[in-house]
């Protein structure tokens, strides 16, 4: 490896007490984040299980429509929104928040402030999710995609997020480093953006077509201001940190961030191409979607060049394996999304399962995989307990990777054929339905693999929390403060 010898020399000659103090500081910071992080991560994992199960049932219902068909609360049209809300506002948001708490301590080099707010936030958040899901199941959906939770539940979640953000901003204000790391830009931006977005969207300001514009501005901006920043913050931290090599170009990082902020906030109306809205507005969103090539390329080149020459480390590092998979999927999803936004692709793909395939490439292959990697890195460091069964991690990885691959390929192909058939007026509509059936089964198979993977992951997660299973001595990458301080 090509590190200048001088640098190596410097790191060797740093006084031993400097090393001791650095290590104790890092451990102290991790410990200050431990309880809230575990609370957030564990709730996230619970919602991952609930959400996957709902998704799986919804998926089988499209294959066997009369299965469990007798009762309103478990009909497809209610389980599907619960699935979406459970996996996005539950799993990704809660696990993402756990990751953010932990990263915040590390990147600000200071202990977490106002942790009481974090506990309150996690509890409220779970209450909001339960309330919202129950209300949707019982038939009180708000009716807009991504905004199904009725006001009482949404208000609880908004409050939870604001408490969370307050604690994070307080910690940021107390930071002990001059430089604000790239991951932190994304986190700070999303802590500012998401509460605004969520409150505006739930305020009921619009009607008719204006409301549709708001709905999809919200729908895509939730991805812009919350889900993607979570994934990117993770990738920007874990890739260089695991490899032990600074990010390739900080300058590209800057460029990527600001172009992301500028363009991605304008993408929403590409969900309404061909709909009854002013053409210019939709065109603006299409152009902004194409402009996304700039930030996406900046991020892709940056991550690729950082890992270049070190990719073999994927063999050794569970975290790197998941995060690199996620980072590559980010590039793939974004390229696909930019092209998908154009009129010629939307004409075919818009109303089909193709879109669902794309959604899972982003939310699963990218964000969820990065989060898995983050959990695999964070948990041993705060529980002081290594993952007891490395093979379970491999099983999880391959179930998830194979599952999402099958899921994505089935729906992408099936959805595209569905769109082509729908645009051929001589084909009766019901044949566009019949044609998708094998692909919908394919999706159910992929989803089953993913769900099994999540069960494995959750089991392993429980073991670490309880510090159960065989104790591993080497290689160990974390220690308790007492162990470090002992002579």
């Amino acid at each position: 490896m090509s590190r200048p010898p001088a640098e190596r020399q410097v790191s060797r000659t740093i006084a031993a007490d400097q090393r001791l103090s650095d290590e104790l500081t890092r451990i102290g910071i991790d410990d200050s984040a431990a309880s809230p992080t575990v609370l957030f991560l564990a709730s996230g994992v619970a919602w991952l299980l609930i959400g996957s199960l709902m998704g799986l049932i919804a998926s089988v219902k499209l294959d066997l429509p009369d299965w469990l068909g007798g009762a309103g609360p478990i009909t497809f049209g209610r389980l599907r929104p619960v699935h979406l809300n459970a996996v996005t506002y539950g799993w990704i948001s809660l696990a993402g928040s756990g990751m953010i708490v932990w990263l915040m301590g590390r990147l600000c080099r200071t202990h977490i402030r106002w942790t009481a707010l974090l506990f309150l936030s996690a509890i409220l958040w779970n209450i909001g999710l339960f309330l919202g899901s129950a209300l949707v199941i019982l038939g009180y959906s708000g009716g807009m995609e991504w905004l199904e939770f009725p006001l009482p539940a949404a208000a609880v979640i908004a409050l939870a997020f604001i408490l969370f953000a307050l604690s994070m901003f307080r910690t940021f204000a107390a930071r002990q480093v001059e430089h604000v790391y790239v991951s932190l830009w994304y986190i700070l931006a999303s802590l500012t953006w998401f509460p605004l977005l969520y409150v505006i969207a739930n305020a009921g300001l619009y009607q008719g077509v204006g409301e549709a514009a708001m709905n999809w501005w919200y729908g895509h901006n939730a991805i812009t201001v919350w889900f993607t920043p979570i994934g990117l913050a993770g990738a920007y931290y874990f890739i260089p940190k695991v490899i032990g090599r600074p990010i390739y170009s900080y300058y590209l990082g800057l460029l990527g961030f600001w172009s992301f902020a500028l363009f991605y906030n304008w993408n929403g109306l590409h969900h309404l191409v061909g709909g009854p809205l002013p053409t210019w507005a939709i065109s603006v969103s299409i152009v902004a979607s194409l402009m996304m090539f700039v930030p996406v390329l900046a991020v892709a080149v940056n991550h690729h060049m950082t890992a270049l020459g070190h990719l073999s480390m994927i063999r050794y590092s569970p975290t790197l394996r998941f995060v690199v998979f996620g980072a590559m999927s980010y590039t793939a999803t974004s390229f696909q999304g930019s092209l998908e936004a154009t009129r010629s692709v939307q004409e075919v793909a818009h109303f089909t399962h193709y879109t669902v395939g794309h959604a899972h490439l982003g939310m699963y292959a990218f964000v969820t995989m990065v989060l898995f990697g983050a959990v695999y890195y964070i948990m041993p460091r705060i529980a002081k307990w290594e993952w007891p069964y490395p093979n379970l991690i491999k099983v999880h990885f391959w179930l998830s990777a194979a599952g999402i691959a099958i899921y994505f390929l089935s729906l992408t192909l099936g959805g595209w054929l569905q769109g082509l058939a729908m645009n051929t007026p001589s084909i009766p509509f019901i044949d566009t339905v019949n044609l998708t059936k094998p692909y919908l089964w394919g999706r159910a198979v992929g989803g089953t693999l993913m769900t099994i993977g999540h069960c494995v992951f959750a089991y392993h997660f429980l073991l670490v929390i309880h510090r159960a299973g065989p104790k591993r001595f080497a290689p160990v990458w974390f220690r308790k403060a007492e162990e470090v301080a002992a002579p």
């Binding site: 032990g244 300058y251 070190h310 590092s317 790197l320 290689p475």
Partner: protein, 74 residues
């Protein structure tokens, strides 16, 4: 009809936005926010003297017994 007021809003917002962006950009140039030193320091804040550059921090899948510090690979 409502096109004119709408245009007006867009134009005003665009001018204000663009001037803010320009101001921020010139501020960044003047205070050397893009200097190599600034950028390199920024990129290094995730390391310290123990978990320093060149040291991988996660190799769970590696068989115990292999040397795991200062790992060079690839």
């Amino acid at each position: 009809m409502t096109l004119l007021p709408a245009l007006l809003v867009i134009v005003i917002v665009a001018i204000v936005g663009a001037s803010l962006a320009l101001a921020a950009f010139f501020w960044a140039l003047r205070t050397k926010q893009f200097s190599v030193k600034q950028l390199n320091e920024g990129a290094s804040v995730i390391f310290d003297s123990v978990e320093h550059v060149g040291k991988p921090t996660d190799q769970l899948f590696k068989k115990p017994g292999l040397q795991n510090d200062e790992q060079t690979s690839g």
